[in-house]
């Protein structure tokens, strides 16, 4: 009997603690988001964060997008050639990239590249008491550290997605036209005629949301790395926070992608 009670109690404690964590996350994200719109705007900090989140991720985003585009071209070609409609390859590659793969892959890459950076940076600032130092100097650390990251991510991820889409379409063009000898005019024309403004808008709303999610979650994990349930103290807390921020952001991105697609359809 006591064993069962103990079981139920531990479940209850777990539920309560995850609810507490969710509440803390929501309050933190709300704070950071509100502070994004409060003057004075830290332009220099935003540019710095744009550099870390955006510029430094360009290479890896282009690389993944390029090879994804190439493999889409290859796979699409072999599937479409069974129906004798290789001419649709351009549209297939462009639509897949613009609507779905571009936003998601870019967001996942940025999470791996910049999300881990954000959370380890904030985490090590927390354990070396730099965040507390900011408090004592009467500087709001959320305003100074977190809000610029969120603004930068919301701006940078759509731009990265657009760059990735273009590079991916170029990759598809390389396989389709250069390697598999499709007609280049057919490829490009089909691409243009089958994409619509709604596809482009769709593909640019998603990354705004993804950028927001990944910056908010990574900042939260880093900012509170010493008070996580699983993480220890010191450097271990930073590593746990970094790992969990990447995992949680990626999962959230994939789940919210489905929900966003369902809503935007």
């Amino acid at each position: 009997m006591e064993l069962i009670l103990e079981q139920i109690r531990s479940h209850g404690a777990q539920t309560l603690s995850s609810l507490r964590a969710l509440g803390k996350l929501s309050l933190f994200v709300m704070d950071a988001t509100m502070l994004c719109f409060h003057a004075p705007f830290k332009w220099k900090r935003i540019v710095e964060e744009m550099f870390h989140i955006g510029v430094k991720s360009v290479f890896v985003v282009c690389l993944t997008a390029f090879f994804t585009g190439m493999v889409l071209g290859l796979q699409g070609y072999y599937t479409l050639s069974r129906f004798g409609s290789e001419g649709l390859l351009g549209g297939a590659v462009a639509l897949t990239l613009i609507r779905e793969l571009g936003p998601v892959l870019t967001a996942l890459m940025v999470t791996g590249r910049a999300g881990s950076f954000i959370s380890s940076e904030l985490g090590s600032m927390r354990i070396s008491e730099q965040i507390d130092a900011l408090y004592t100097m009467n500087i709001n650390p959320i305003k100074y550290l977190v809000s610029p990251k969120i603004i930068a991510a919301v701006l940078a991820v759509p731009l990265l997605t657009a760059i990735g889409d273009m590079v991916g379409i170029f990759g598809g063009y390389i396989t389709g036209v250069v390697m598999l000898d499709l007609n280049s005019g057919v490829f490009i024309n089909n691409m243009i005629s089958s994409t619509d403004m709604s596809d482009v808008v769709n593909g640019l709303i998603k990354p705004v949301f993804f950028g927001y999610v990944l910056a908010a979650i990574s900042s939260y994990r880093g900012f509170f790395c010493d008070s996580l349930r699983t993480g220890g103290k010191g450097s271990e807390a930073v590593s746990t926070a970094t790992t969990s921020s990447v995992v949680i952001s990626s999962v959230t991105i994939l789940i919210s992608d489905y929900i966003l697609t369902a809503f935007l359809m």
């Binding site: 955006g54 731009l159 403004m197 640019l204």
Partner: protein, 148 residues
């Protein structure tokens, strides 16, 4: 120097990104920055089965516009199609609008056959002569069951 480098790379990144967004919107999204360069013509068809919003409207194979809205006309109870025609294309009053298919399973489009009248249709005018699309299934069934 460090600061300058950082700002230059961020500036470049933003410019390239905006260029890509612009290219996608204008080229792939067919964003019309100078909008309302079209006028609307209406036409009644007995059947618009298979026609989609945004389908081509063409004259002698040249695209001159696209299909806007289509709905059941409450008065006459036949399909009413609105066509957005480019401003610089003049359509004669005795034009014939017909729904055609490109390829055997391809998309439906509207073909306009111009006549020789002197007057041109204006925004909101109605095309009187129309031909609905050919229903291949119906044709085959007529042939099979010997009603030809």
């Amino acid at each position: 120097m460090k600061r300058e480098y950082l700002e230059i790379t961020v500036g470049l990144f933003v410019m390239i990104g905006i260029f890509c967004i612009g290219y996608m919107s204008i080229r792939l999204g067919k964003l019309d920055i100078f909008s309302s360069r079209e006028y609307v013509l209406k036409a009644r068809f007995t059947s618009v089965s298979g026609l989609k919003k945004g389908a081509r409207v063409e004259i002698s194979g040249i695209p001159v516009g696209k299909v806007g809205d289509y709905y059941l006309d409450p008065k006459t109870e036949v399909a009413m199609v609105e066509m957005m025609i480019k401003k610089d294309i003049k359509i004669d009053t005795d034009v014939i609008a017909s729904i055609k298919t490109s390829g055997i399973i391809g998309d439906k489009y509207i073909k306009l056959t111009l006549g020789g009248a002197d007057q041109h249709l204006k925004d909101g005018d109605m095309i009187t002569d129309t031909e609905s699309g050919v229903d291949i299934e119906e044709l085959i069934s007529k042939f099979v069951f010997g009603k030809v």
